[in-house]
């Protein structure tokens, strides 16, 4: 679903991404992990085509975003804590507008289904700005599912959810990846969540992928007890993990 080849981004002399390559396959949920400033959001912004790479390629469902931006984005969707939907529109209005932007067929029925699925029926006519942060996250997730994307990008999707809601969302996204011809790229700082959801993780530091593997076996391969210990090592002593 997603192929990233030698992707790099430089701001003057600052290297934000240093030629990373990875893939997200069909039915796969891949965790993109790393300390703040590692390059995770830069990667997501490039895949979403709101940031131009300095070099490298991004291919979504066979479409190169450099040459087929619109077709690639029609197959993609995202949610991020830093991109809430406009607070001055109701839940229904926001979903209606984005359904039109993404060309969702039978939009009304699709929105109704998502309102039901994400437990938003009672908020249908509530302005998004009046919702709690957890409810806003659920609206953003509903928006991200509108076009049944082939590639779903989730930047800390459960950051503002209570444990019960977060568990529910994780289960929905696992279900989404399993039942659809789709792949998911997921960033999170919650290592428990990553172990539970992701079939593969990529550890990013200083714009490079340092480690890649199964989150359940990767810590032991590097002599760590848990994924969190491994994360701390990546954040504090990345050189100790480089070949």
């Amino acid at each position: 679903m997603l192929v990233v080849k030698g992707l790099g981004k430089r701001y003057g002399f600052t290297v934000a991404l240093d030629g990373i390559s990875f893939q997200v396959g069909c039915h796969e949920i891949v965790g993109l992990l790393g300390p703040n400033g590692a390059g995770k959001t830069t990667t997501i912004n490039i895949v979403l085509s709101v940031l131009e790479p300095s070099f490298g390629r991004v291919i979504i469902d066979g479409m190169d975003i450099a040459t087929h931006r619109r077709e690639a984005l029609e197959r993609t969707n995202f949610t991020a804590v830093y991109a809430p939907l406009p607070g001055n529109l109701t839940v229904w209005q926001n979903l209606r507008v984005f359904a039109m932007l993404y060309g969702v067929p039978s939009a009304r029925a699709r929105i109704e289904a998502l309102l039901h699925e994400y437990d938003l029926l009672q908020f249908r006519n509530t302005k998004c700005g009046l919702l709690s942060s957890g409810e806003q996250t659920r609206v953003s997730l509903a928006k991200a599912m509108l076009n049944q994307p082939r590639l779903l990008l989730l930047d800390e999707p459960t950051a503002s959810l209570d444990p019960a809601s977060a568990r529910e969302i994780r289960s929905r996204i696992r279900e989404f990846a399993a039942q659809n011809e789709a792949g998911v790229l997921w960033t999170s700082h919650n290592m428990y969540e990553v172990s539970e959801v992701c079939s593969r993780v990529l550890f990013v530091s200083h714009g490079k992928i340092l480690l890649e593997g199964d989150p359940k076996t990767l810590p032991a391969e590097y002599g760590k007890e848990s994924l969190e210990d491994l994360f701390v090592t990546v954040a504090r002593e990345p050189l100790s993990l480089e070949d």
């Binding site: 701001y11 709101v50 131009e52 529109l89 039109m100």
Partner: protein
């Protein structure tokens, strides 16, 4: 990519703006309020001037007609820029520009919103000026069509150029855009003929497309008619302004995508 899909995305931008208008009297009232105040103010000024003059010249069509045309231009500018500001104020750039919409479709949505609001406001201004001050706006005749069209297009050009400035320099640059009409109005010769300006300023005013429209309007009202050449110059300058504004917006958008400004817009600048 089908035309239908493109129109649907343009309609999505319009629908969002319609939802905002429908749900907020704070957005609807200002559409008409300032223009209504202008009509009342200039209506009374015109009446007063009519009592001072020797009754050979009627100030009502000259001043009130001019203010309606000028406010129509300002409304066209505001139609585009306020629609753009809605995405600035709600920090919606990432959601919009990560969707499969082309910049041309986004701008078309803003312009169509401007068409809708400008036409409604024009109608309200004409009705108010006719009812309160007996203005016969349509005595300008058939030339009203090119006058309105040229003013609208120049207003849209200013709006798109303003949007480019705000996209480039961040939300605070909004305060550079609001005074634009006031800065331009002395050069556009809205209330006085071009000959009233000093020689060097006349040359500057000749670069401002609305100048030709207001000169043309006065020509019609004074029975001199409108000359073709000034209108052709006005059309050429307006087209140039529109193309330059679209190009400026596109360049700024590309800069924003290259530097990551779209994703970090609230930071105002990345340089």
């Amino acid at each position: 990519m089908t035309m239908g899909a493109s129109l649907r995305r343009v309609a999505a931008i319009l629908l969002r703006l319609f939802y905002l208008l429908r749900g907020s009297s704070a957005r609807v009232v200002p559409l008409f309020a300032w223009q209504a105040v202008d009509i009342v103010l200039w209506g009374f000024i015109s009446r007063y001037l009519n009592t001072l003059s020797s009754a050979r010249f009627n100030f009502i069509p000259a001043l009130l007609g001019a203010i309606i045309l000028w406010d129509f231009l300002v409304r066209a500018l505001h139609g585009v820029i306020v629609a753009f500001f809605e995405d600035v104020w709600s920090r919606n750039f990432l959601n919009i520009f990560a969707a499969p919409i082309a910049i041309s479709e986004y701008l078309t949505g803003l312009v169509l919103f401007s068409v809708a609001t400008s036409v409604v406001v024009l109608a309200v201004m004409v009705v108010l000026a006719t009812a309160a001050f007996g203005l016969q706006f349509f005595t300008i005749g058939v030339m009203l069509v090119p006058f309105l069209l040229l003013l609208f297009l120049f207003g849209v050009a200013l709006g798109i150029f303003g949007a480019a400035i705000v996209l480039r320099w961040g939300p605070a640059a909004e305060w550079l855009i609001w005074p634009l009409p006031a800065l331009l109005s002395p050069l556009a010769c809205v209330f006085y003929p071009l000959s009233a300006l000093p020689g060097w300023l006349q040359w500057v005013a000749r670069l401002v497309p609305p100048t030709y429209v207001f000169e043309g309007m006065r020509g019609v009202l004074e029975g001199r008619g409108t000359q073709l050449t000034p209108m052709l110059i006005c059309t050429a300058l307006t087209t140039l302004a529109l193309l330059a504004a679209c190009r400026a917006f596109l360049r700024v958008y590309r800069h924003a995508v290259r530097t990551g400004l779209i994703a970090r817009y609230s930071a105002e600048t990345v340089s």
